[in-house]
């Protein structure tokens, strides 16, 4: 490293981004561009930082693959902080290869974690899990360990594996304390507090009880037949019958569950499932067909038995029936409950699941987006909707080791 680059790196390591810029502001050689980019990123000037890091990466020669890879990683991290999720992961994965070839394992892990966070933001949970599993058992520096555990907790919470998620959060907390990055610690704390917020309501006989996420998980793990109005499906022990694409069947199941252990009359079922107040014979015929379909899907878990005035739900093996609903009423709450699986939903899939018009759903999504409670990726027909990450860690820039950029 030359003298001004060293002076700039020294300032940057001490947190003095402006002092670092003062040393290399007028220089366009690749190490100076990289340091300028990192300083700009630390000052929150993300677009400028990206441009500088891109130029730095281009400027390093073919005999400087390591420095170039570090710039690519820094640039990918800045892009992630900008929520620019377009583009292919090819450059980042090539950087991982180069870093590993040069035994720079810390930055290789850092690059992989950027890929994991990007996949989480894109709602590609399976791919995120696979990528994260590459890091299993590797010793990680504290800040990266905290980030990895946060990602792991996020995956756990999305799939309602609350106990492992809680354990991952505890490990993230310990690692963040060792890393002494205040922003990281704050985000771990925030993710932990998400566990104590009401995640759903359990409805029974007109009463509602707020449940935390672990209580929801306990209920789903219990023996009860759960009509899950958050994820739109029916669960009994390990069996899960999704009904997000069968809104009529889900509406029938919900009404049957509300009436349980009593029966429910045909008019109420027709009213709820078909949105009509004046039922005629065709509706009664349709009800028989739909009940028949629901009966077939529920056969491993419950029976639906006809009564003189309607139908009654009879779970197998003497199970209880529990009805789960989003923590508050309304279209918006239902949307958030659906998105809480962390996957990317299209507007039409959400409309189908909620049995609402696309326009209604779009309106509700627009309001939620304005409040920052949902996120959109993609444009027009490829637009997908996602819940914000439970652990909002993705704006923290850890950046590859600045001192080694040259």
């Amino acid at each position: 490293m030359d003298s001004l680059t060293a002076a700039a790196a020294k300032a940057l390591a001490a947190g003095d981004a402006l002092g670092a810029l003062k040393h290399v502001a007028l220089r366009d050689d690749p190490p100076a561009l990289a340091l300028r980019g990192i300083a700009m990123a630390q000052l929150g000037e993300h677009p400028r930082a990206r441009e500088l890091l891109k130029r730095a990466a281009r400027g390093f020669g073919s005999h400087e693959a390591l420095a170039r890879a570090r710039c690519v990683v820094a640039e990918a991290e800045v892009a992630l902080a900008m929520r620019d999720l377009g583009g292919t992961p090819r450059a980042l994965m090539a950087a991982v290869t180069a870093l590993e070839a040069h035994d720079d394992h810390a930055n290789a892990v850092h690059a992989r974690l950027i890929a994991v966070r990007k996949l989480l933001l894109l709602g590609q949970l399976d791919a995120a899990e696979t990528e994260l599993s590459h890091l299993n058992g590797r010793p990680l520096p504290p800040a990266l360990a905290a980030t990895a555990e946060l990602a792991s907790a996020e995956l756990g919470l999305r799939s309602l594996n609350v106990a492992p998620a809680r354990a991952a959060l505890e490990r993230a907390h310990a690692a963040a304390q060792r890393a002494r990055v205040p922003a990281l610690l704050a985000e771990v704390e925030e993710a932990r507090s998400a566990l104590s917020h009401p995640a759903a309501r359990q409805l029974s006989a007109g009463n509602a009880r707020a449940l935390r996420l672990d209580e929801v998980a306990d209920l789903l793990d219990s023996d009860a037949l759960v009509i899950d109005g958050c994820r739109r499906g029916i669960c009994a022990g390990a069996q899960w019958q999704p009904l997000a694409r069968r809104p009529v069947l889900f509406a029938l199941a919900r009404v049957l569950a509300e009436a349980w252990p009593g029966d429910i009359d045909r008019e109420t079922l027709i009213d709820n499932a078909f949105n009509t107040q004046q039922p005629d014979e065709t509706h009664r015929a349709r009800l028989r067909v739909e009940i028949g379909r629901l009966r077939a899907l529920l056969r491993p878990m419950a029976e639906i038995v006809a009564t003189p005035r309607g139908f009654v739900l009879r779970p197998l093996d003497g199970r209880e029936v529990a009805l789960l609903a989003p923590p508050i009423d309304g279209e918006q709450a239902s949307l958030i409950a659906l998105l809480s699986d962390g996957a990317a939903w299209s507007t039409s899939a959400l409309a189908l699941a909620l049995n609402a018009s696309q326009r209604t759903v779009q309106r509700a999504l627009a309001e939620l987006e304005a409040d920052g409670r949902v996120r959109a990726i993609g444009r027009t027909r490829t637009r997908r909707w996602l819940a914000p990450p439970l652990a909002g860690y993705t704006t923290i820039l850890l950046l590859p080791a600045a001192l080694q950029m040259a």
Binding site: M1, D2, S3, A6, K10, D29, L403
Partner: protein, 223 residues
Amino acid sequence: MTSNTSKLAEPALRPAEIVREYGPFPDADSIAGVTHDGKRVWAATGKRLIAFDPASGDPADSLPCACDAGTAFDGTHLYQIAERRIDKIDPASGKVVASIPAPGDGNDSGMAWAEGSLWVGQYRDRKIHQIDPASGKILRTIDSKRFVTGVTWVDGQLWHGTWENDESELLRVDPADGAVLERLGMPPGVNISGLESDGADLFYAGGGSSGKVRAVRRPKAAA
């Protein structure tokens, strides 16, 4: 033609023999430059010049001063590159007695004292400047084939360190045309960020962000 010939003639890489490692030292994250005053080895660590006894490895002295790159010793004073200047420092008091502009204007890396001149490496520009220590005037410039980190003279031989792609070599170059005469490769990931000869058969090499200083054996007059 000439450059092609000299490239083809470049000698084979031999492994450097590392005799001893010193450090990392307290409160010193990296080593930016090294020099030898006949008894002690001095190392630039960013905000402090530290001296240690190469026989025992014990700390011997410490001077607070800006030290971002190469260090040299002329028999009386220390010379130290800081930002874009070279400070002349009294090792007894630590006082900066004079300053001259660095020839690379901040792109400077290693520095050596020899024959009444300072020799300053310009890292990515692959140059070694001979300058007048009083005025900073460039007397001549040697073009190397590689990035220049540390620079040192011993027995009329000009050696410099390189650091590219996290790989470092010790090169002996022809002071006339920069042609590489001898190459010693450091082990993978072991970098050179400053170089000084002890006047005999050892080099002291700064280890960059490892914070170490390494003693490397100088090959017996091979060429």
